[in-house]
């Protein structure tokens, strides 16, 4: 079972399981839309200490004693049954909240990285992060109205994705489309487990180099 130290609860088929899935990608790429399309959205906020660089950004002159800031998080739940719940967490996109990512990624089943062909480079940091951490992920290209469509292999090349990483188109407004992205992620996680390569957790050797690619514009 996925949980350690267990204080067993009697009369249960098994211990309840909470599955964490991250929804990442650049600002305005559709993370909130996807979470609301496919799950029961719940309000969730956190108070975070402001780090030095963000303190400059947030113009704290005159309110020096304010040391925390409220971050509203995208949070949704999908109840599979009484004992099994999938939790979706949108990763805060702004750089100043990156320190939260390690905590978000801890114990996560995997991540959906959302991409927008008009601003493809916005998703590079997310891809880099999950590659480095060895977290299973899929890339979902959100098809915005009016955005140019590209063949998947063109996008795979532009994203410099390894062949095993699922890449798909989606419409985050559509429940069925968003659901398919999550199914692809879970299936990908299963494939990774079946392969069970002990090196996978620290795969920084083979991490492809990702530059600011403009070819897909």
């Amino acid at each position: 079972m996925p949980y350690g130290d267990s204080d067993s609860v009697p009369n249960r088929r098994r211990a309840p399981v909470a599955i964490k899935v991250l929804i990442a990608g650049g600002f305005g790429v559709g993370k909130t839309t996807l979470v609301s399309a496919v799950s029961e959205v719940r309000p969730l906020r956190t108070e975070e200490n402001l780090s030095e660089p963000s303190a400059l950004v947030d113009q704290l002159d005159g309110v020096e004693r304010k040391v925390t800031t409220t971050v509203a998080m995208d949070f949704g739940r999908i109840s599979i049954n009484d004992d099994l719940v999938v939790y979706l967490f949108g990763t805060p996109g702004q750089k100043r909240f990156w320190f939260m990512w390690d905590e978000l990624a801890y114990g996560a089943l995997g991540a959906v990285v959302m991409a927008d062909t008009r601003r493809l480079a916005d998703c590079f940091p997310s891809i880099d992060y999950f590659e480095r951490r060895g977290t299973p992920f899929v890339v979902a290209v959100n098809c915005f109205d009016g955005a140019r469509r590209y063949p998947l292999d063109t996008m795979r090349a532009a994203l410099n994705l390894t062949p095993d990483v699922p890449l798909m188109l989606c419409d985050a407004r559509q429940r069925a489309s968003s659901r398919d992205v999550l199914v692809a992620l879970v299936e990908h996680a299963v494939v990774r487990l079946d392969r069970a390569d002990p090196q996978e957790g620290s795969a920084d050797l083979a991490t492809p180099h990702r530059r600011q690619v403009t070819s897909a514009r």
């Binding site: 079972m1 996925p2 949980y3 350690g4 130290d5 267990s6 204080d7 609860v9 211990a15 309840p16 399981v17 909470a18 599955i19 964490k20 600002f27 305005g28 559709g30 993370k31 909130t32 839309t33 496919v38 719940r42 309000p43 969730l44 906020r45 956190t46 108070e47 975070e48 200490n49 925390t68 409220t70 509203a72 998080m73 949070f75 739940r77 999908i78 599979i80 049954n81 099994l84 719940v85 999938v86 939790y87 967490f89 905590e103 978000l104 801890y106 114990g107 996560a108 089943l109 995997g110 429940r175 659901r179 999550l182 199914v183 879970v186 299936e187 996680a189 299963v190 487990l193 957790g201």
Partner: protein, 129 residues
């Protein structure tokens, strides 16, 4: 995208009480880490009534509300959402209850769920959504 959502959110008015007031100003939980999907369950064999008066005095109304909510195992993020408290505050309150022996906390495994049967069950259920 998010701006509209944030405007609707009651957070935009700012909290009425400073968030860490309910934790007496503490910003870090005691003891081992508590993940946002860690499952918290009240231990039935102990209740607040069993505590020494001085221990009981340490528990505020939020502790009590929280304890009510975890009669069945519940994830930390759900507790924060249900009680309308920031995640960090809930972690501290949960850690207090754990210290008093009133709840158990089960962390997810660091490497995530590795049970293929459960994952397949999840994939099947998602397909039916």
């Amino acid at each position: 995208m998010t701006p509209r959502r944030e405007r609707r959110n009651r957070d935009s008015r700012g909290p009425v009480v400073r968030p860490y007031a309910v934790t007496s100003g503490r910003t870090r939980p005691t003891g081992a880490a508590i993940d946002m999907v860690a499952l918290v369950s009240a231990l039935r064999r102990v209740s607040i009534a069993d505590l020494e008066p001085e221990q009981e005095a340490k528990l505020g109304p939020e502790h009590r509300r929280l304890l009510e909510c975890c009669r069945r195992p519940v994830a930390v993020a759900d507790l924060a959402s249900d009680l309308d408290l920031p995640l960090g505050v809930v972690r501290i309150l949960v850690a207090d209850l754990r210290e008093q022996g009133l709840v158990s906390v089960r962390q997810p495994a660091p490497s995530g769920l590795r049970d293929v049967a459960v994952l397949k069950e999840v994939a099947d259920a998602l397909r039916r959504l």
